[in-house]
Symmetry: C2
Subunit: 404 residues, 2 copies
């Protein structure tokens, strides 16, 4: 018998309440005991909600109720959510979260606190919405040395790029459409600038490689610089532009993590991931490439991942699960300066000049290109080498090409 | 500290030995104790193998050695493998297997036996090679009522179909190529007739729906009837032919499971699964569709899934994991007779005649079609209805169309 409190009755929080109610019998059966929602913490009242009577306004009520053994944190952000998480763990309650910002910024210390108090801190819903990825990474790939994690981690930007590619919408028009459909927030900065994807690759990389990797260690570029001409050039060579978060372990054991738009081959499974879907590829030394695909966000998918964690916490009350990693540090990462790849370069210079500077390149063409515009794919080189060669050229777009 | 015995030193068995050796330090660290290979049971000796000295010929040595707490069964088949599995479980040893035939045929009784003796029976490697699917199905999707499991479950047939589609090879030529590349066995019956896919959908469905579903409850058709003209007609309507294993839960709670070639829309993520890759889609009432993708077979991917299970067994020695299901029975399934869908029909009759019989159809065309040949997509109907309408027509191919 477990009693649950939900912190924050927003989209995900209310979804959790719904899933707990809708699949209640099924859930009780699976955990061999009941899982009952006792409180919902929110600033507001919800008199018309079927859950209205469970609303409380003071976290201390939850903190001080020994019956509550599982706290679901769906507040978001890294301030009040952090305080309540700490207080809940310290009070001996397991915490389940969908809050990627908090896990990416403070995961290690919260996991340590959970260990100290013999409870679980679970965060399956923080990456990939309902896609099961955290446990497969930790458990099923346990026998592999993981060498790279790479994914389409943000549904909003993937929707925008898909609409640019499929419907020929400009970035601004596609963003507006995404907002109208509820796929982008009024302030879309965290999505379109890549911060959301950055937090998620931090979580995946920390788990895959065993040390906390912080957002500030991950150079991040968003998709605001992607134009329809870039989309057309990519199409001309059978590629699609995708915002990828990647974390690569070098032979030296250091992690190079980054978020930036990539040109992805049409045959790559990642190229087929459209709209708000997410996909995460994990490369292991024995398993090869494995991909996980599904809706990366949305009320019910995310809520179902939260509830799966709640069930896990309920089932393992007397033996908490630690799905955690070691401390971060400057010795964990290196900037991705030495990660060599082919590059897509668009610039307002004659092709001959680009060829002179970059050596062996593949020239791209698109219908309706203005005179003087030129786009190429380079031979593999590091970003430093590329920038050095292009130091005297003003470039339009420069995107990495995902290797085959 | 766990000691392991491997039964059968074939492709997967030797892969398990290799992965245990190669990733040994990493594995020991993760399970907080060592995992050591003590015996390999095989009929033959392997004097030149680095594992040669571990070979034994008598299962009783393993059975009687109290140090051995984990037995890896990679013998295959459902006879001797079953006997050794039963004896190992009865001797209080956890058993890890990649043997889909055994799990599909006798999973329930072996899981019961494991419970009785307080040990684990784990089979992650029996479906999807290295793709983590068993645990995600059981744990991460726990909060969902699953309504369908559908997948490309056999690498050999997917390779053959890919070569027919991409290179225009006939079925026979593609099969021969698959054999030359080691993707098909000398006797390919179990693959091309769909038996292997049938076993795997039995395992997935049993786990997803909680009752044992036996191979004989799953009508199965393979790909030997797929011709290049079918491939061309499918292409003409933007579809690809894929062998799918499916298990659908009806509103009545009964499971309709079947294996047969389907026409799959080009935009469906399953259409992009090529060569020997496998993919499994799970549909839940909260999560929507989630897909798992990777190499469905091969020595190291499969071995890595086995080793992950070994680690799980080692880590949970004092608290065995039960990833199991309830008993089977006639009340569990229904034949898929009432599963309605659109159908692809190719026949040697005039289009008008087909239209007369089938009503509203979409006519397909292909270059070089002989006079009198006709292919259509029908409106949704059951197979019974289709057969009734076509009772007087001799059909070439009839394949189900995967709904959008």
């Amino acid at each position: 018998m477990s009693k649950v409190a939900i912190l924050g009755f927003g989209v995900v929080g209310s979804g959790v309440a719904e899933v707990l109610k809708r699949n209640g019998a099924h859930i009780g059966e699976k955990v061999h005991g009941s899982v009952e929602l006792k409180y919902i913490l929110d600033l507001k009242d919800f008199p018309d909600s079927p859950f209205g009577e469970k609303i409380v306004h003071d976290f201390a009520v939850i903190e001080g109720d020994p019956e509550v053994d599982i706290v679901v944190e769906t507040i978001g952000g890294a301030r009040i959510a952090k305080e309540y998480t700490q207080r809940a763990l310290a009070a001996g309650k397991s915490v389940v979260t969908s809050n990627k910002e908090l896990v990416a910024k403070h995961g290690y210390e919260l996991m340590e606190l959970a260990r100290e108090h013999g409870v679980s801190y679970l965060y399956e819903a923080s990456v990939g919405g309902g896609i099961p990825i955290i446990r497969p990474l930790k458990q099923c790939l346990a026998a592999n040395e993981i060498t790279e994690v790479c994914g389409i981690l943000n549904g909003t930007t993937n929707y925008i790029l898909t609409r640019m590619i499929r419907a020929g919408l400009s970035f601004d028009a596609a963003l507006k459409e995404a907002q109208q459909n509820g796929y982008a927030e009024a302030d879309p900065t965290a999505d379109i600038e890549g911060h959301d994807a950055c937090r998620k690759i931090c979580i995946l990389a920390s788990l895959a490689f065993g040390r906390h990797i912080y957002p500030e260690q991950v150079p991040t570029a968003g998709i605001t610089g992607v134009t329809l001409s870039d989309v057309a050039y990519a199409d001309s060579c059978g590629r699609k532009i995708k915002l990828l978060g990647r974390a690569i372990r070098g032979e030296d054991g250091r992690i190079r993590a980054f978020v930036e738009p990539h040109l992805v081959r049409g045959e790559d499974p990642l190229a087929g991931v459209e709209d708000v879907f997410n996909a995460i590829t994990v490369r292991g030394n024995a398993i090869g490439d494995v991909m996980f695909y599904g809706r990366g966000a949305g009320k019910l998918p995310t809520a179902s991942a939260v509830v799966a964690d709640v069930m896990d916490a309920a089932r393992n009350k007397d033996r908490p699960k630690y799905i955690d990693w070691g401390p971060g540090g400057e010795d964990v990462t290196l900037p991705p300066d030495d990660v060599s790849s082919s590059w897509y370069v668009r610039a307002e210079v004659p092709a001959d000049r680009l060829r002179q500077l970059l050596g062996d390149v593949t020239l791209l063409a698109r219908a309706g290109a203005p005179g003087g515009e030129c786009a190429v794919l380079t031979a593999p080189m590091t970003r430093g080498e590329l920038d050095r060669r292009l130091s005297e050229v003003e470039t339009g777009s420069v995107f990495r090409v995902l290797e085959d």
